[in-house]
């Protein structure tokens, strides 16, 4: 684990001081890069936020361990995201870009892991959109309400029904994700 791991921890703990530090130390380089590559400050803001939200998601849902300096890793993520944006208007699978960069293997490996996770998150988001309305409603309620008993009361059904439905809906969502054409090629974390 790299000593910069505390930055990742700061993100998931919503530590404002650490988030400010990231913006002060690491974001200006990203802004300069994007502005010199057909982008605006707004574009840079979008890219930075997307990357940080993705890191948050990855750290929250997987056992994410930083093994390289945050500086190079963060810059590479933002740079690649910007170059991908320039290349197409929709999200596309990351392809290896041929660049003359002096990043060591660990930074690159970490970037690849993060981008793969981002794509998994994207598949999840798409699958959730296509889930039936009743399932969506139930899942939304069950994760937001304090207890499943309360959910049962709100929906005027039994607790046993909510429990069963929640697992069935999660299962259905899982099946949609597993049936995505790219699911098998993504390495498991």
């Amino acid at each position: 684990m790299h000593t910069d791991q505390y930055l990742i921890l700061g993100l998931i703990q919503n530590d404002r001081a650490i988030i400010e530090k990231i913006y002060t130390l690491y974001v200006p380089k990203v802004i300069r890069f994007i502005e010199s590559n057909n982008g605006s400050k707004d574009d840079a803001q979008d890219v930075v936020q997307e990357v940080l939200i993705n890191l948050y998601n990855q750290a929250k849902t997987t056992s994410f361990t930083l093994t390289c300096p945050f500086d190079a890793y963060f810059f590479l993520l933002c740079k690649r995201k910007w170059l991908n944006t320039l290349g197409s208007s929709h999200y596309k699978k990351v392809t290896n870009l041929n660049e003359n960069v002096s990043y060591d293997d660990t930074a690159y490996g970490q970037v690849e892991e993060t981008e793969q996770f981002e794509y998994k998150q994207h598949i999840f988001n798409e699958a959730l959109k296509s889930l039936g309305t009743k399932c969506k409603e139930l899942l939304a309620l069950s994760f937001v309400t304090k207890s499943l008993e309360e959910v049962a009361q709100k929906l005027n059904v039994t607790y046993a029904y909510v429990r069963k439905k929640k697992s069935l809906c999660t299962g259905e969502l899982t099946k949609i994700i597993q049936s995505h054409r790219d699911y098998k090629t993504l390495t498991s974390i």
């Binding site: 919503n14 707004d42 930075v48 948050y56 998994k120 959730l128 309305t133 994760f143 069935l168 994700i177």
Partner: protein, 240 residues
């Protein structure tokens, strides 16, 4: 996959299995690679769901948004210089002036018509063909909004929140603003899933009435992760 297997996955993850059940389940996972793969997939989905709806994540996004605003408010120091051939300077200057006025006007006066490309209605689910719902769906997708309104009013909107959303959009299109507002507020109260969508349409409802203040009031409430967040942010800038 048997549907009951999902309940087993859930029970295992929640720790509600007995010691014996747990042992049996774990030995199944050890011997059945497909089951293990399905379980891992289910576990990941459950984690992503929890993260997707978490309040902690919303708080984080809020912090990012605030910190981003303060850091991005400093004007850029770099300036691009355009070299103009003195011969064509006058022409270029007039052209630039005209063009920038055009953009300025467009940017300053957003109109409802810029934003009324509605999502296609697809209520009719596989195998359950209710002819009135199908008619409403077709009317909506054909932009026959008054017709859609008439049919929606014969349906029981309690049955399906999606119908209510499209009813509300149809009411905006036919300028029945009070009714539309009522429907969007009910939608927001009864459907957690459509909260951001109803805010987006409240924004459009007021935009159509040229009430920029009210429109902005609703648009700023849209969550960062919502589908319409980026569009809302762009519209907010135009409404300033």
């Amino acid at each position: 996959m048997e549907t009951s297997i999902f309940e087993q996955f859930e029970n295992y993850l929640q720790g509600t299995m007995t010691a014996e059940e747990k042992q049996i389940f774990e030995s199944m996972l050890n011997t059945d690679t497909k089951l293990l793969a399905d379980f891992e997939a289910y576990k990941m989905t459950a984690k992503m769901l929890e993260n997707h709806y978490s309040i902690a994540k919303k708080a984080f996004q809020e912090t990012l948004h605030e910190v981003g605003k303060t850091h991005f408010n400093n004007p850029s120091k770099s300036r691009k210089t355009i070299k103009l051939n003195p011969k064509y300077f006058a022409v270029a200057a007039v052209f630039l002036l005209f063009f920038s006025l055009l953009i300025f006007n467009n940017q300053s006066f957003p109109s409802y018509e810029d934003y009324n490309q509605h999502p296609i209605a697809t209520f009719v689910e596989r195998g359950t063909q209710e002819s009135e719902v199908l008619k409403a769906q077709q009317a909506f997708n054909n932009q026959e909004y008054q017709e859609a309104v008439n049919i929606f009013e014969t349906l029981n909107l309690e049955e399906n929140t999606e119908w209510r959303l499209y009813y509300a959009i149809s009411l905006i299109e036919t300028s029945a603003f009070d009714k539309a507002q009522e429907q969007l507020l009910t939608l927001s109260d009864t459907s957690f899933y459509y909260q951001n969508k109803s805010k987006w349409y409240m924004g459009l409802l007021f935009l159509k009435q040229n009430n920029h203040q009210e429109s902005k009031k609703w648009l700023v409430q849209i969550d960062q992760e919502a589908e319409d967040y980026k569009a809302a942010q762009k519209l907010i800038k135009r409404l300033k």
